[in-house]
């Protein structure tokens, strides 16, 4: 690990509040950050603010000193009562705010983009903060460049240009450099005992590997078909004598029961609806492997050290939320429309057909045997599905390497360039770069549509800002002139934004520019102009670097 290299705003933290309110996956994905904070300062006290129903999962996450649960369900029920309920909810939020204020946090990180957590951060009045917050006037702001990169990367149009796992971006948003390179949970003994009993109930008739299959998915379009799961499991049970446990929640039983019913082998056991989170962790810990989509149990499996073979269907994107530890296998269908927009339904998820259940069974069996770094020819056609293996790069950032193709996909070159750009520009990591002569750079720029337009506008922006600053300083200047320059700047910004929409690979660059602009603070004209000047400088520098890394 290259410790102590990363550029950081707030490297020292003593009393940290982590706002991580709503999702199980988010909580697990925060574990390297939490562990990293402790690694960097063992005396640091970490408080996590979570939705009441996730308090349970926090209990099995190591390194948390205090869990504060906020009952949003009750709050919303109060609000639904209206009238009195509003006052009840208001009193409740006042109490929560008061309780948190007295803890006197010196740093706060909110990686939930929701408006209410942003407002909460402002209410708490913590000076040093990362992630989403709001300013005094109620506007949402994103503190720290890494958090803006987080927001940029999950922007649908930009997703395919990102190769940084969000766990790392999250961690960097909190200015944490050291970390355990995996997700973490503690498996309590009672949960482990419970699973032993549960598995006895299964009365498996073979001694083959215990394979966990998480069939349910968070969205319909990510839900692999029942018959495909049946085919997969039949293959595993017959060819490899596997013992299969079907995990899931009670709500997922309507998906799971038909799978169980369709499987020919008796060595398929449904545990869905019979495990709480610690018990699920214990089950996964005892399993040889988890076959899953991009799900909460996938992160849980990683956290207990059980490898996963994961299908990233529909909107799921392996680079972004893939399993965060080394040696997991990720299947990303190759399809024009994928990864698709998470907010859009899909009536015909063709991406599901790209994965052959029998081949998947072979891959699973192979991964149980060993860390798979290459695949037999023809097992998976790289034109239909790319199989990735997860690993960590030299700076400790999770990455994926394709193990069934050397060609890579058309976006790979952009992804690589952006990866280097952000690690260098935001993280300050020393990226080895080719010493390109000027002619080479010009040539590359030719191949990178729109990049020259961006660079020239960034320069123009800087020039206009300089003119603006002159006019501001010259008290005798006509206000009309100031208005003219401001108008030109607005026009310029609209153009930059449009270029980002028009040339998709420039999207991340211009989106970072837009976020930076939205985060300007203060009311003093000269101060604002200076900040804006730096935003143009950043854009110019980054566009140049992007060309270099491309």
């Amino acid at each position: 690990m290259n410790s102590g290299i990363m550029k950081r705003r707030y490297p020292e933290k003593d009393r940290v509040l982590l706002v991580n309110i709503t999702r199980l996956g988010d909580m697990l994905q925060a574990t390297p950050t939490i562990a990293g904070m402790k690694m960097e300062n063992p005396d640091c006290k970490i408080t996590v603010l979570v939705e009441k129903q996730f308090e349970g999962i926090c209990n099995i996450i190591p390194n948390i000193d205090e869990i504060v649960g906020i009952d949003l369900g009750m709050t919303v029920r109060s609000l639904a009562r209206e009238q009195d309920g509003i006052i009840d909810a208001y009193e409740y939020v006042s109490e929560v705010v008061d309780d948190l204020r007295i803890k006197n946090f010196d740093y706060c990180l909110n990686m939930s983009s929701s408006a209410y957590t942003a407002i909460l951060l402002n209410l708490l009045g913590i000076k040093r903060r990362g992630g989403w917050a709001s300013d005094e006037e109620g506007y949402r702001v994103i503190e720290s460049e890494w958090a803006r990169l987080f927001a940029t990367s999950v922007f649908h149009q930009n997703r395919q240009f990102n190769s940084l796992n969000l766990v790392d971006v999250f961690r960097c948003s909190a200015d944490v450099e050291q970390h355990p390179k995996k997700l973490l949970v503690d498996v309590p003994q009672d949960a482990s005992d419970y699973i032993d009993n549960l598995l006895r109930e299964a009365a498996f008739t073979t001694e083959g590997p215990l394979i966990a299959v998480q069939a349910g998915a968070s969205q319909g379009k990510r839900q692999w078909a029942t018959e495909k799961f049946i085919e997969l499991i039949d293959h595993l049970t017959y060819k490899y004598k596997a013992r299969v446990v079907l995990t899931g929640t009670k709500k997922e039983l309507p998906i799971i029961e038909p799978i169980k019913a369709g499987c020919r082998s008796e060595n398929v056991f449904v545990v869905a609806g019979r495990t709480n989170l610690p018990q699920l962790a214990a089950l996964l810990q005892k399993s040889a492997i988890l076959v899953t989509g991009d799900t909460g149990p996938m992160h849980m499996s990683v956290a207990v050290g059980t490898p996963v073979v994961s299908m990233f269907l529909a909107s799921a994107y392996g680079y972004e939320t893939g399993p965060y530890s080394e040696g997991n296998l990720i299947l990303q269908p190759v399809i024009e429309c994928g990864p698709c927009n998470p907010n859009k339904d899909c009536a015909r998820p063709d991406c599901h057909d790209q994965i052959d259940p029998q081949a998947l069974a072979e891959l699973v069996a192979m991964r149980i045997e060993r860390d798979v770094k290459n695949l037999p020819q023809g097992l998976f056609d790289p034109a239909r599905v790319i199989v990735y293996r997860s690993f960590f790069d030299q700076f400790g950032f999770c990455d994926l390497e394709s193990i069934n193709t050397s060609a890579g996909d058309p976006w790979q070159r952009y992804r690589n360039a952006y990866r280097k750009l952000w690690l260098d520009d935001l993280g300050g990591f020393p990226i080895e770069q080719e010493n390109k002569p000027e002619t080479k750079i010009l040539q590359v720029a030719e191949e990178f549509p729109g990049i020259n337009e961006i660079t020239s506008r960034a320069e123009k922006g800087r020039a206009l800002i300089d003119r603006l600053l002159e006019l501001i300083r010259d008290t005798s200047s006509e206000p009309r002139l100031l208005g003219q320059v401001s108008e030109k700047l607005s026009e310029l910004d609209r153009e930059i934004e449009q270029i980002g929409y028009h040339f998709a690979p420039l999207g991340p660059l211009t989106r970072m520019f837009i976020f930076a602009k939205e985060n300007l603070s203060g009311t003093d004209a000269a101060g604002l102009a200076s900040q804006m000047g730096r935003v143009y400088d950043d854009l110019k520098r980054r566009s140049r670097k992007l060309v270099e890394y491309y």
Binding site: L72, L79, Q83, D84, S94, E136
Partner: protein, 933 residues
């Protein structure tokens, strides 16, 4: 409890006797003749059943119908009418009186059941003033019987007494029974009814005796569909848990009957009906064996009269007689209430109907036979009244009490004695005050009063401070109009500060009334009321489109009906989402009877501003009964006609001007060219206008508006193809014209309508624009603008032509007249004035109802609880005043990001707002269900 059969026998014998003596006295308040009795029957029947729909298809049954006082009103309205009474004599009389009606069936019943009537066969059962005089067991049995014979959802309408239970012997058939509200409700529900409303009965005569807790009420009940109902003994137990006093089995008439008969005899003497007085005296004396009532003086009085010596025992005190008392009292009034003194000095009124009575506790005043104090124990009764009043929390909390009614002053003396409150007194009848000053020494009382005024002179300043108004029932009688004025002043003014109802204004879809909805809203908001407009004009296109689809009128009418039903539903949904307390419907507002009924069930006060000629547009006949208030632009018969169609209250309220729209304008040359003319008229081409204006064709005359013929000379006079104009356009015409003609429309008469009374909006609007108008003569015009000074009128075509010629040449005169008119309408005839008056009426009449509604409103509690955080409280108050709903959206609706620093309270509310949004979104994601955004 005695058995029902023997109680019924007692009832039968009592009522047979009474009806044989005088059916009009014993069964209907002693009306002089049948015509009077039928009139009172019409009134009471309307109160009881005015809101029942489609009566012609329904069967109505009356329990205790007597001689048919109410059936006479029911017969022409209901399809089938059935009357039940225990008295054979009464039924036989009723057969005679109602012989002209072939849809009436009369039964001399058992006195406790309705046995020949089949189950579930009747739509409406009524009973007026009958149940109260029945033994409780009998009354309870009738309740159960009514439930049996009524169809599901059938209506039961009762006039009974609720309040404090009275001690009445079980076999007493005259004293009034009174039940507590709670017990009555329980009993009615046990009998199978849902109590819909209980309202106080107010009649021109005193019907409630609140001093003893007896309140006359009208109860509207609905037969519910519950299968299990209690038996009548259980119902009786619920009505009066302690039961009635055991029967006395008296053989003679009760003291009450004796006393009533004697007093009636005295009235008959006073009316000059000596022979009947003699019969009545005999009736009283012959039936009673022993009485503790000392009626010797009364008997002597009647007997003397009967003997031909009409010797009134009353002390004769003339109004102007300078008795010692009078002079001393007046001296105090002169010193303390000088203005009143001068007013009283001017009064030369006849006081022949005011008499003075003697009681052991002092002298009392009697007006038209009605004693203004207790007729025997004025001081004792006054003390009871005063104690009761002061125990009421409303009066306890007040610093001052304003008492309506001076009477003989006993009650005021009691109030002073019990103390602690400033006392203001309003007397409706100056003659009463003068006479009271003459018969008693009231100097101490007059010294103690904080205010004393005649009701017609009192103004709103009189009620300044923390005042409560107490109305003496005795003084209420015969002063309905003046009392309304006092109540309007008091409650109306107080309503503006103490009430915060949400008011919905429902405008029409199209037509001339359309802008008035907007003016009304603006005025409501200007008067700091929480108001919103149901803007329906956007639906005009749909309405017009419907008419294109079919040709036949009946189909068009049916489609319009459906369309209005749909629009009504839109209004209902809007009200359900954002509740209102008062709905003001403009004339022609698209609202169905169903929707109005729904509003009333929700406790919304319904108001119709009928700004149309009631003789030409008669749809009020079918809708009046659904409105608590109807405001009209006509008086006289219009008011009584709409009232008898079932409207709650009917008041005169003319249209007006809105100075924001109707205002003098600086017009460009171009505008003057387009809109201006030496003579103009704006309005639709009614018959009388066509007839009149054809003769002005040779003058520089422009006509604007719709429905004008396309023939000569109008093809030349009518501007811009006779299109409909917007208010801002005709305001330009008014401003750009030298002489605006204002001829009120008539479909029947030529030229000026000699019977025209109401004023159109144009009269006020022209004046408000400072525009000169020539207006046709109208009955109400001089009340608004002084003809010759503030407005010029014309009688006929020649007069109009002469005046046009005259005024065309005199711009300065025109300007002066128009300026005076403008000044006048701005001072007294804007929509702000009208709406203020409208609300004063509503607030005065419905003050308690609105206050109660407000007290029960969620806002009240929310405002109270929000005091935990001063800023939150302020925010709640502001949201309330903005007319927001008591929910989170209402509280945050004015928080806008980027408009200055958000306070902590604002941030907390926005936090909650976004939490709710997020959780709803997540729930939708999880369940796949999409909810409303």
């Amino acid at each position: 409890m005695g058995d029902l059969r023997s109680l019924a026998e007692r009832m039968k014998s009592d009522w047979d006797r009474r009806v044989s003596h005088d059916y009009r006295f014993w069964m209907s308040d002693g009306h002089r003749d049948d015509k009077d009795m039928w009139q009172s029957g019409e009134r009471d029947f309307a109160i009881l059943t005015g809101d029942i729909k489609n009566p012609q298809n329904k069967t109505l049954l009356e329990i205790g119908c007597g001689v048919g006082r109410l059936l006479h009103a029911a017969a022409p309205r209901f399809g089938r009418v059935i009357g039940f009474d225990v008295s054979d004599v009464a039924i036989s009389k009723a057969r005679e009186l109602l012989r002209d009606y072939n849809n009436v069936e009369l039964y001399a019943g058992s006195g406790y059941d309705l046995s020949p009537i089949q189950d579930s066969s009747i739509d409406v059962v009524i009973s007026f003033a009958a149940l109260a005089s029945m033994p409780v067991g009998v009354a309870a049995n009738y309740l159960c019987e009514a439930a049996r014979i009524l169809k599901p959802d059938g209506d039961l309408r009762l006039q009974i007494y609720l309040g404090r239970e009275q001690e009445v012997y079980e076999d007493d058939t005259l004293h009034l029974r009174c039940f507590t509200h709670e017990n009555f409700r329980k009993a009615a529900e046990a009998a199978g009814f849902t109590v819909n409303t209980i309202e106080e009965l107010i009649l021109p005569i005193q019907v409630s005796v609140k001093e003893i807790g007896l309140e006359a009420v009208i109860v509207k009940l609905r037969r519910n569909n519950s299968l299990s109902v209690a038996d009548s003994s259980q119902v009786a137990k619920l009505l009066l848990p302690s039961g009635e006093k055991q029967a006395r089995r008296e053989t003679t008439i009760s003291e009450l009957e004796y006393w009533m008969a004697l007093n009636y005899a005295r009235d008959l003497v006073d009316r000059g009906e000596i022979e009947h007085a003699r019969e009545t005296l005999e009736y009283a004396i012959s039936q009673v064996r022993d009485s503790s009532v000392d009626a010797s003086e009364l008997i002597n009085y009647i007997a003397n009269a009967v003997a031909g010596e009409r010797a009134l025992e009353n002390e004769k005190v003339s109004v102007k007689e300078r008795s010692d008392y009078f002079n001393r009292n007046m001296a105090v009034i002169k010193r303390r209430f000088n203005t009143l003194y001068h007013t009283l000095e001017q009064i030369r009124a006849d006081d022949a109907d005011l008499q003075v009575g003697d009681t052991p506790e002092g002298r009392v005043l009697v007006r038209k036979g009605q004693c203004l104090d207790h007729q025997q124990k004025p001081a004792t009764a006054a003390k009871v009244w005063a104690e009761r009043l002061l125990s009421d929390s409303r009066f306890k909390q007040a610093d001052k009490i304003a008492v309506y009614g001076f009477g003989s002053g006993y009650h005021l003396e009691s109030l002073i004695k019990l103390g602690g409150k400033d006392l203001l007194v309003i007397e409706p009848d100056p003659r009463v005050l003068l006479k009271a000053l003459a018969i008693r020494d009231l100097t101490d009382l007059l010294e103690s009063l904080s205010g004393l005024a005649l009701a017609e002179r009192v103004d709103k300043d009189f009620f300044e401070g923390n005042v409560e108004l107490a109305i003496r029932p005795q003084s209420q009688v015969g002063t309905a109009e003046i009392l309304q004025r006092v109540k309007t002043l008091f409650y109306g003014e107080r309503g503006f500060s103490a009430l915060h109802p949400t008011i919905g204004v429902l405008g029409p879809v199209m037509g001339g009334t359309l802008p008035i909805g907007g003016y009304t809203l603006r005025s409501l908001l200007g008067l700091n009321q929480r108001a919103r407009l149901f803007e329906m004009s956007a639906f005009a296109g749909g309405m017009n489109q419907l008419e294109q689809f079919v040709k036949e009128d009946f189909r068009k009418a049916a489609l319009r009906g459906h369309y209005i039903e749909m629009l009504s539903q839109i209004v209902i949904e809007s009200i359900n989402e954002k509740p209102i307390d008062i709905l003001i419907c403009m004339a022609q507002a698209p609202v169905s009877l169903r929707a109005l009924e729904y509003c009333r069930q929700k406790g919304i006060i319904t108001v119709l501003w009928f700004v149309e000629d009631y003789l030409r547009f008669t749809y009020w006949k079918s809708v009046a009964a659904y409105f608590d208030f109807v405001f009209t632009i006509q008086r006289g018969e219009c008011l009584s006609a709409i009232k008898s169609a079932g409207a709650g209250e009917v008041h005169y309220l003319p249209v007006a001007c809105d100075p924001v729209v109707h205002t003098p304008l600086e017009l460009s040359e171009e505008e003057k060219e387009r809109w201006g003319s030496p003579i103009s008229f704006v309005g639709a081409g009614y018959h009388n206008r066509q007839q009149m204006f054809a003769s002005l064709a040779n003058l520089p005359f422009k006509i604007w508006g719709t429905e004008w013929p396309q023939c000569k000379p109008f093809d030349r006079l009518v501007q811009e193809e006779g299109r409909r104009l917007k208010p801002e356009e005709y305001v330009k015409i008014f401003n750009a014209t030298d002489i605006n003609i204002n001829l009120h429309s008539s479909t029947e008469r030529d030229g000026v309508d000699p019977y025209g009374d109401f004023l159109n909006p144009r009269t006020f609007e022209l004046a408000s624009c400072g525009a000169f108008q020539l207006c046709d003569e109208r009955a109400y015009l001089s009340e608004v603008l002084e003809p010759g000074k503030e407005i010029i009128t014309f009688k006929n075509r020649h007069d109009l032509q002469d005046k046009i010629r005259y005024y065309l040449e005199r711009p300065e005169e025109r300007r002066e007249i128009a300026e005076r008119a403008r000044e006048k309408v701005l001072a007294a005839h804007t929509y702000n004035h009208r709406i203020h008056e409208m609300l004063s009426v509503i607030y005065s009449s419905k003050f308690e109802q609105l206050k109660r509604r407000e007290k029960e409103s969620p806002w009240t509690r929310m405002l109270e609880r929000s005091k935990i955080d001063p800023e939150l409280h302020e925010r709640c108050k502001a949201a309330f005043e903005r007319g927001e709903e008591p929910n989170l959206d209402g509280l945050v609706s004015d928080i806008v990001a980027g408009e200055g620093k958000l306070s902590e309270t604002e941030q907390k509310l926005m936090f909650l707002f976004h939490v709710r949004k997020q959780i709803i979104r997540m729930t939708e994601e999880r369940t796949g269900a999409k909810g409303p955004k």
